[in-house]
Subunit: 205 residues, 2 copies
């Protein structure tokens, strides 16, 4: 089985925002899609290890913001490469809230949807949330960022490693594990925080 | 609610192939994605009106071929714009079969996956099939066709209408309804056979 065949599937890049009680949080996903048009329903697939997963499961609602092709990598870093358990990802930036109070950003975004969860499907490491779209805003600016374009952008933006650094790079999305987590070797069950691929796709730079 | 916000979501373009007893069939979908990597699982979302839907539901298996950016529109026409109830879509073309006997094409394709259904989720007009990936081939040629690129290609390829023609055009994917179905006006529950959008997105050319 040639795993690279799976990397030929196309995706967008989205900020999944949520609110539970007074806490705001968000993460990056590539797995948003429309599943029906009558009525409008979307699905999102979220890793169970994400705090956002637990918050969406508990609140039953979310915002889904489509990032634009000119969106800064900082948006992906802010929402995708740190945990809401450690930081408030919305601190110090301009954000708005949708009709249900879920946070979203307009800067670097092309549209935002508000979803109300109607079904959850357990698929193992991830949960698929099916949701009714109860509001939608199109900012009518720029084109959406594709996941393929994000991967290229990320590859170009990375500085060469310096000696003595031990950096594991995800060969799929170019995420770099460089020691934020307290272990030197990647554990066997490690998955890329961005694209959710397993340890086997990581190479030492 | 601004429905156009839903059109900012990114997709690929896939041929979903299936075999039930001795019958081969396939349709076009844009809703394929990987949902987990440990183990490899994918999901496909298929309209219940498609014969391929019923065949996948009964057989519990399918091939999913990612079309390439240089794939001919003929592939979309062959598999997406006619029904397996009327024609054998694989007649007269070169095709192969995967490890489970599902048909797929290599011409105009970048990769093919074989899925074995593990869960089905009813979402109304469509069914989401979750499947284990049991085989995968990457042809290592060209890039995948995105749904956005397909829409542009389709828009460019269309000849202007001649007078006396009554053509309804899907403003989302540029599919043209021009009378194959025996009614002059689109019925209220009409959905685009390609992108599954409702009657409201169709405009008279």
């Amino acid at each position: 089985m040639d795993q690279t065949a799976l990397f030929t599937m196309s995706y967008g890049v989205y900020v999944l925002g949520t609110k539970l009680e007074n806490k705001l949080n968000a993460c990056i996903i590539n797995t948003g899609m429309q599943v029906t048009s009558i009525p409008e329903q979307i699905s999102i697939t979220v890793a169970k290890t994400n705090l956002t997963h637990d918050m969406v499961k508990a609140s039953g609602q979310f915002s889904l913001t489509t990032l634009s092709e000119v969106s800064a990598l900082e948006n992906v870093k802010r929402f995708g490469m740190q945990s809401g358990r450690d930081v408030n990802k919305f601190e110090g930036i301009d954000y708005k809230v949708d009709v249900l109070g879920n946070p979203y950003i307009e800067d670097g975004a092309v549209a935002v949807l508000t979803g109300k969860v109607t079904q959850t499907v357990d698929v193992g490491t991830h949960t698929i949330f099916i949701a009714s779209v109860i509001d939608a805003k199109d900012f009518k600016e720029n084109k959406p960022m594709t996941y393929a374009a994000y991967r290229e952008l990320k590859a170009q933006s990375m500085p060469p490693t310096t000696k003595n650094e031990k950096i594991y790079e995800c060969t799929v999305c170019h995420y770099e594990y460089n020691g934020e987590i307290p272990f030197e070797e990647l554990p066997d069950d490690y998955v890329c925080p961005i694209c959710k691929q397993p340890k086997s796709v990581f190479k030492l730079k």
